[in-house]
Structure formats: C-alpha cells, structure tokens
C-alpha cells in the first residue's frame, strides 16, 4: 500500500493548532521560545578564522586570555566588573520557582558573573546570594521598591523582550500562588497579563527623563541598562543611546519566555545574529561604539555563540534558557510527570502550566523541592565557566589575549545570507554579499 501523505500546508501541527483554537476560542500560549526550524542566518552560519601564517595564535591551554568584563563606563560612577562576559538574564520569581532564582544567583555569583531580577521584583534571598545583581524596571512595575533598587548594582529599564517584543508578560493563574500574588499585589489565581507600555512614559523623549529619574534615585552610582526586544534595532539602539543608556541590551527573536502567545515567539522580532549586527552599526554611526556597551541575548547556547556575538560587537551576552537547562530543564528524569502535561524530555515547553517536572518553572512546593539549590548553583557555575573556556579557546586561536579583542575579521560567512547580514566575506570568496 502506498504511504499516506500529509499536507505540507495543513501539516499535522497546523491541524492540531486549528482544532485547539476551535475548542478553546483562544490563541495558543506556551513557554520556552521559538520552536521553528531556523532557516534564517544564525551564528551557525559563521566560522572562526584562527591564526595560521597571517596571524600568530596564543597557546590554547596556557597563555593568559583576559575575560574581565566592565559594563557601564559611560556615566555611572560604579561600572560593574565581572570576571566573565556571560550573564544571567532577567527571569521573574513567578515564572521561576524560588529555588531556581536562588540557584541562578548563587551560580552566577560563584562564577563571578551577574544575575537579574525579572518581572516580579526582587527576592531577598536573590540579593543575598548575588555578587552583582541587576534590578529590572519593567512596564508592570510588580514589586517595585526603591530600597531594592538602591541595593542593586545596575538598573535595567526594560522596554521589551526578544520572545515577544511589543507585548507584555503573561503568568497564568496556576502560577499566581498566594506568595506570588502578594509580591505582585494581584488577586490569587488570576491569569496575569502584564502591560506592554510603561505607565509613566511613552516614547523615547520621555524616556530621557525617566533615565534621569532612575539615576537620581540611585545617586548616579550604578549603570542604567536599556533592554529591548529586537525589532527595529538600528533605530531603537540609537534612541536608547540618546536617552542616556550606559548599556544597551538587545534580545533577539530566539529569546525564551515563561509564557506568551505562541505566535509572538514564532513570528515577531528579528534573529539574534541580525540584531547584534544592526546594534553595532547603530552605535558606530552615532560614534558611541565602545562608549555604550552592548549586551546580546536570545538563544545563546554555548561559548561559540557568545564568542561570535562578541566578535560581531557585543561586550557581553545574557543567557536564560541555557541556564535553565543547566538546572535540569528538559532532562530525562521524572518522565511520567513530563507525560502528564503532554510533554517529554527534550520536547518540553510547558513552563506556562506551572507543572514543571524538574522544579524550575513552578510554584508548587513539592515540584520545586526537586531542584536542590546548591546542586543547581554548581551546575550553573560550571556552565558559565565552561562557556567562558570555550570563548577563551577560540580567542586564543585567533591570537587574542583578551576575549574582547575578537573582531569581525576573525569570522567568515558560510552562507550568502550570513555574509549579507554580518557584512563579512563569504568563505571561499573575498566578497561581502549585498554590498
């Protein structure tokens, strides 16, 4: 019998999606981030060009290669100094469990890096276990507290995030427990939809005044970051720099989320590779490249992605999903519990349900206890260290004694698209395509 053929247009997943909407009357909501097969230019479409005769490498396992990372040198009296360029991005207590937040803080601190609060305010245990804590000021302002801001090492004014630029956060009622409701001043169990716009400014001109307010509130001591989802990056980065940002964070479309409409994760924003290139160009065009630091986020998996982002212009990278994977996200343990929520190890994007089998994206005490804080912190530290070693190895092979000396000339493009996006020659040619 001939093999039955499914439709390329109405593929099985499309049929399931239509029938789910027909049942619920609601768009699909889930967590994790884009699940699409990536057909756009990514960091995988670049390769490093290590030294041979034209340049001299450093000894790969021996010679010093600095990883020190300083952010916020433009206006802040106290720029933050990190031992490594990989930082933990903002993820809320609410989206994540208490144990996950504290494990990330401890892991980052022990690796000499930073962590960030998220859309739910600061946890005391988070501050107490952080070395460098970045306090996010988001449109929702959940849990906003001036005393917590003044304890922070940097303030991040968040305009949007890569997984869902142009819209606010979501936290479904199953995760709005009594403690989370109290922290956010919300009724218990509501499907919390955060605002997309800040309540007290709208456009980039008002934001200049907002940035000044944040500086006044923190005595001009700590750096002010402005974070945005990657959409019109070239123009948005210029506006953020004009508003007085010390550091600009650009979060590409591969960025993760605890919950959002699936269509945002799949069909909004531009890829992280494109975002870093636009951001660098914007800063160069206004003469602020190097003076305003650039952090790139969105689907950074390893030291290779990070090293390529840095070669293209980033001063540092945020990781989110990768750090959760270090905490056991999608690990093949408690497999019955994956199945109970319609997921499986390596194919779980059910953060929105609050039934995380490994205790990361849940508020259920029993599930949360599956994540041991100290063991989790150790794995996060190990991941950060391993990623840093990967960056150093690549940098040394390119002859750099400092990872921040990586540059576009250290890369070649493997596809026409990557050449055009990054403005670097296609391997095998001396051409930059699209120029």
């Amino acid at each position: 019998m001939a093999e039955l053929q499914t439709s390329g247009i109405f593929a099985p997943g499309v049929i399931e999606d239509i029938q789910a909407k027909a049942e619920s009357g609601l768009y699909s909501i889930r967590g994790f981030g884009t699940l699409r097969e990536r057909r756009w230019a990514t960091f995988d479409d670049l390769t490093f060009l290590p030294c041979s005769l034209t340049r001299i490498p450093l000894e790969g396992y021996r010679e010093k290669c600095s990883t020190k990372t300083v952010l916020g040198t433009r206006f802040a009296k106290k720029p933050i100094e990190l031992d490594i360029p990989i930082m933990i991005t903002g993820m809320s207590w609410g989206a994540l469990s208490f144990n996950a937040k504290v494990a990330l803080a401890k892991g980052a601190a022990s690796a000499g890096s930073s962590n960030t609060t998220g859309d739910g305010g600061m946890l005391r245990a988070e501050r107490d276990n952080s070395r460098t804590l970045i306090y996010e000021v988001l449109p929702s302002r959940y849990g906003i507290n001036i005393h917590h801001m003044r304890e922070a090492d940097a303030i991040e004014l968040t305009i949007g995030q890569g997984a869902k630029p142009g819209t606010g956060g979501l936290l479904l009622g199953s995760k709005v427990s009594d403690r989370i409701a109290e922290q956010r001043d919300l009724p218990i169990g509501v499907d919390q939809r955060s605002p997309a716009r800040h309540p007290d400014f709208l456009g980039p001109d008002d934001m200049i005044i907002k940035v000044e307010e944040l500086r006044e509130a923190t005595d001009w001591q700590v750096p002010i970051f402005i974070k945005m989802g990657a959409s019109r990056v070239y123009d948005d980065v210029k506006l953020a720099a004009k508003a007085g940002a010390d550091v600009i964070v650009v979060d590409g479309m591969e960025g993760g989320t605890g919950a959002s409409p699936a269509i945002f994760q799949e069909h909004t924003g531009i890829p992280t590779l494109a975002a870093v290139c636009e951001a660098r160009l914007a800063l160069e065009d206004i003469g602020l490249y190097g003076e305003v630091q650039l952090i790139i986020a969105g689907g950074i998996r390893d030291g290779v992605d990070a090293a390529k982002a840095m070669a293209l212009g980033a001063d540092a990278c945020y990781i989110g999903t990768a750090s959760l994977i270090a905490l056991n996200c999608n690990k093949p343990i408690y497999e019955d519990d994956y199945r109970a929520i319609g997921a499986a190890p390596h194919a779980c994007h059910h953060c929105h349900t609050g039934r995380c089998p490994v205790g990361i994206t849940t508020q259920d005490p029993e599930l949360m206890n599956r994540l041991d804080i100290d063991q989790g912190a150790e794995r996060v530290r190990n991941l950060l260290r391993a990623m840093t070693l990967e960056i150093q190895m690549l940098a040394r092979s390119c002859g750099k004694s400092n990872i921040h000396h990586l540059e576009p000339e250290d890369l070649a493009a493997l596809t026409l698209e990557a050449s055009a996006v990054c403005g670097i020659p296609l391997a095998g040619t001396r051409k930059v395509f699209g120029k």
């Binding site: 302002r141 499907d191 605002p195 309540p199 007290d200 400014f201 006044e216 923190t218």
Partner: protein
Amino acid sequence: MAEIDAAGRSAREVNAAIRKLIAESSTDITVLNPAARHNLAVAILHGVHIRIAGSAGYYCGGLGDGASIEIEGSAGWGLAESMLSGTVVVHGNAGSGAAAALRNGSVIVYGDAAARLGVSMKGGEVIVAGNCGYMAGFMAQKGTLIVCGDAGDAFADSMYATVCYVGGKIASLGTDAVLSALDPAEIERLEASLSAHLPPAVRRSKPAAADFKKVIAGRKLWNFDKREWRTWQEAL
C-alpha cells in the same frame, strides 16, 4: 525651615541640596523657583516635608518612601510614581500617569488630572478634586481611586482589585469595569477620606459622598473564558 533656591541649578543639584539638608536633620524644606524642573524630590526616603513653591515637571516625588511633598503649582507626568509611602499634594493640576504604579501612601490633586491617572496602581489612595482624563485606573491592582469631578473615557479598564469612586459623570466605562452600590460604611469612609485630604472649601464644592458612583472590576478578564470572547476581543 530650610530653603533651596533652584534658580540656575539642575535637578541633580537641587536633589543633592535636599539630601544634604535631610542629612543635617532638616525636616521642613522649601524649594523656590522650581520652574517645572523634572525629577524634583525623587526617591526621598525620610519623613520630611518638602514644599515645591511653584510647578514641578515629570516624576516629582517619584520612588519615594515616607516624605510629605506639597507642590504649590502643577505637576508633570508620573507624579509620585511607584511611591511606597508618604503623601504628595498638588495644588494645581497633574499630568498623565499621576500615581502610576503607586504602592502605598496618598496622592492628592486639588485640580484636574490628565490621562492614565492611577495606572497600574498597587495600593494607596488617590484623590482628584477635579476631573480626570481617559483610561484612569487602567490595569489598577489595589488601593482606592477617587475622582470628585468627571472621569474621561475607558475609565477603570482591565482592573484587578482597585476600587474607584467618581463624583461626576463618567464619559465611558472601560472594558470589564462595572458600577457597584456603596454601602453605608463605605460612604462614611469615603467622606472621612475626602474631608481629611481636601481643604474644607474644596470639599464643600464637591458632591456628597453618598452621591459618588463606585466602579470595580467585573472580573471577566481575570481568567480567560471563551464565553466572554467579546470582552477579551475588546480588551485594551
């Protein structure tokens, strides 16, 4: 009483002068010639009284905790935003987003307030003696919002547990905003609050507490329900 002349000085210099006086134990500070500067008296964390002898720009009294701030003129956007405790009184009008994300304390405006009054407020009490613009109370979470005059369009849209009272007309209710009856104890509390915070002459010119309309969330947006599809479709 200590005085700071803001003429020719930046907000940063004025705020530094305020903090210096507080460190020197001043409890009553007047800022002269404020000239609607932005970010005056931001993040004041002490129980002092600060009088702004004129108008203030954006974010006056923002991110504060414990101070009593009196603005003798009008105030710009984001008045007392994210305040934790304390009192901010404006003799004139307030710009958009007054009391945005307010967590506690009192924000009192003797004149009118512009758009998005009390947006995302998380507690505390907001009283406007005059009228307010559109989308007052948008996504407000807790606390009390009182408008003695008329309220603009989309009033109390998408709220959680904030309770609103309006003495005049409401141009239109926002999505999921519903009228509710006031009980006698509530009328008494409302009257006590208005009498405590408004000058007697202003209070006398406003409606009696029993004549205020009460607006709360209909709770149809709290959790998605396909039977409420039209409400969700129109939700801002």
